[in-house]
Symmetry: C2
Subunit: 310 residues, 2 copies
């Protein structure tokens, strides 16, 4: 069997079945970050992300933006868990004929973003490579009562997002702002039941929340904020690497968040019982997907969008 038959998520499940962890681990593989016991009041967050030339960026992309992206995706993971990024190590696989000035550009993006968010770059590894590869591993901290996971969504929760969706591949995937400030504002002031960052696509990442919360959902297509670059609603629902926050809160908390108006948070739907499945209500107020459908039913619709790895 080849990788493309089992797919990225099939492979992850295959690994997860082999993993046993001890009591130092509050939450292992399966969320935006691993969550480790640190002290009475805090957890440590631990995440890694690898970006590769030809897959996550192309050779002609601005290397300063590539450096920012390499660090930004991990910051986005820490933000999705409600945490504060603190330390990172960086592994670089560099083509032999690369110019030192090009590596400087990459470093400028990476160190610049680290400085902005007060993240300590504390080490790394350098290797030769055919294609440029950058792996960032990041540590963060989160107060125990502020930790957000994928698994806390409750029937009746309002589903909300930051930013707008669609067409990330046209530029946003390299020039996004990780939603750290928004995440801080949310966890400092409200009770967030579940949260994830949109890296695989809105539908797919909502699917991760639903699966881990044993819940269903209804989404209103007319409420999805479309970016200027979005080709349409379909593409906005499937577009990967948007790096926006997707979260669920009680109806009461949602109205307080909307009134706070410090950042632009939008309501896009509601959490339903698991038996309801995931259903979209289209612009004509009709269900655009089968009753009882799961997020996996949407896979064929999203096949052409986003950054599919296999």
């Amino acid at each position: 069997m080849r990788l493309k038959e089992i797919g990225e998520f099939g492979l992850i499940k295959r690994f997860q079945n082999k993993i046993k962890t001890d009591r130092s681990v509050f939450r292992g593989s399966g969320d935006d970050c691993a969550v480790l016991n640190l002290s009475k009041s805090c957890y440590q967050l631990f995440t890694c992300d690898m970006i590769i030339e030809g897959v996550d960026f192309i050779k002609s992309d601005n290397l300063e933006a590539v450096g920012r992206k390499a660090l930004g995706v991990s910051i986005s993971d820490i933000a999705a868990c409600g945490g504060i990024p603190r330390h990172a190590v960086v592994s670089l696989g560099l083509p032999k004929n690369m110019l030192v000035s090009q590596v400087d550009l990459l470093a400028k993006g990476l160190f610049g973003l680290a400085k902005k968010y007060k993240i300590n770059i504390v080490g790394g590894d350098i290797s030769a490579s055919g294609k440029l590869v950058i792996d960032v591993s990041m540590l963060g901290q989160v107060q125990k009562n502020k930790l957000c996971l994928r698994r806390g969504a409750k029937y009746g929760d309002i589903i909300m997002v930051t930013g707008s969706f669609g067409g990330s591949i046209k530029g946003k995937h390299l020039n996004f702002t990780p939603r750290l400030n928004e995440s801080r504002f949310l966890v400092d002031n409200f009770k967030i039941n579940s949260m994830i960052d949109v890296s695989d696509g809105l539908i797919q990442d909502l699917g991760h929340i639903l699966e881990q919360s044993s819940a269903g959902a209804v989404l209103y297509e007319s409420l999805i904020p479309l970016s200027k670059e979005a080709a349409g609603i379909e593409e906005a629902l499937c577009s990967g690497e948007e790096f926006e926050l997707l979260f669920t809160v009680s109806r009461d908390q949602a109205s307080k968040i909307i009134k706070s108006s410090k950042y632009s948070f939008k309501v896009i739907g509601e959490i339903m019982p698991a038996s309801f499945g995931l259903r979209l209500i289209n612009q004509n107020n009709k269900y655009s997907a089968q009753k009882g459908g799961t997020w996996q039913s949407f896979k064929p619709r999203c096949q052409k969008a986003g950054f599919k790895h296999f």
Copy 2:
């Protein structure tokens, strides 16, 4: 200027000059691991290592061994700091046409070694890649009074090693045992002044200790333990990826370590004042290198050996 002109270490220095860290960092880039403040009695160790097909292993290598190596190099870094490995995340860049059974082999090596050393694999990232790339980031812990760095070597210290040297590329680099047990034994029972693992080559890694300790050294070629695979003393001095421990201790501690005889630790030389430089005494009891020479003087001799990246 191209990377091969500045070299791996030139590039690392270039980065280090740009890095500022806050008080949460006891020791940043420049040692086997980053050392972070964790609690009153403990530091947290943080390290990453990337291995790439065609550089650190070849396509026909046994993938179970490749998986072991990916984790083993980081365990070796934690051991070199006197610590205990605890948690790891793994990023995989996988060729699209790879078979699931091949990934299973890789995972078998990786998870098997993790189980042996009770390391929790707590997360990861999977991406498509032209060549197989594996990056492991690892966290460890060390009691503050047991931390070993490169910088503590003192004039008069005895230089010691585990294992034997030379010809790692013929197989050991894929089938080494990280010296975690030896490291535990050393830091639990003795005062280790400086320690490093031999990944770049005996001379070069001793050079790192000398540079950071502002010290010189004399090595006795007749005392270097040669492995069966070693082509000769020259090759043993330069061979990279041996993953043995190289450490320095006072004369008193050295004699106690030798008498303890729990593991095979060998004396190979002595720490001298910085002005002495690094000098080798050959089998005829004569200096085989210029007085006042630094480890960098040995670079041309080592050009052909080891795993040079650029």
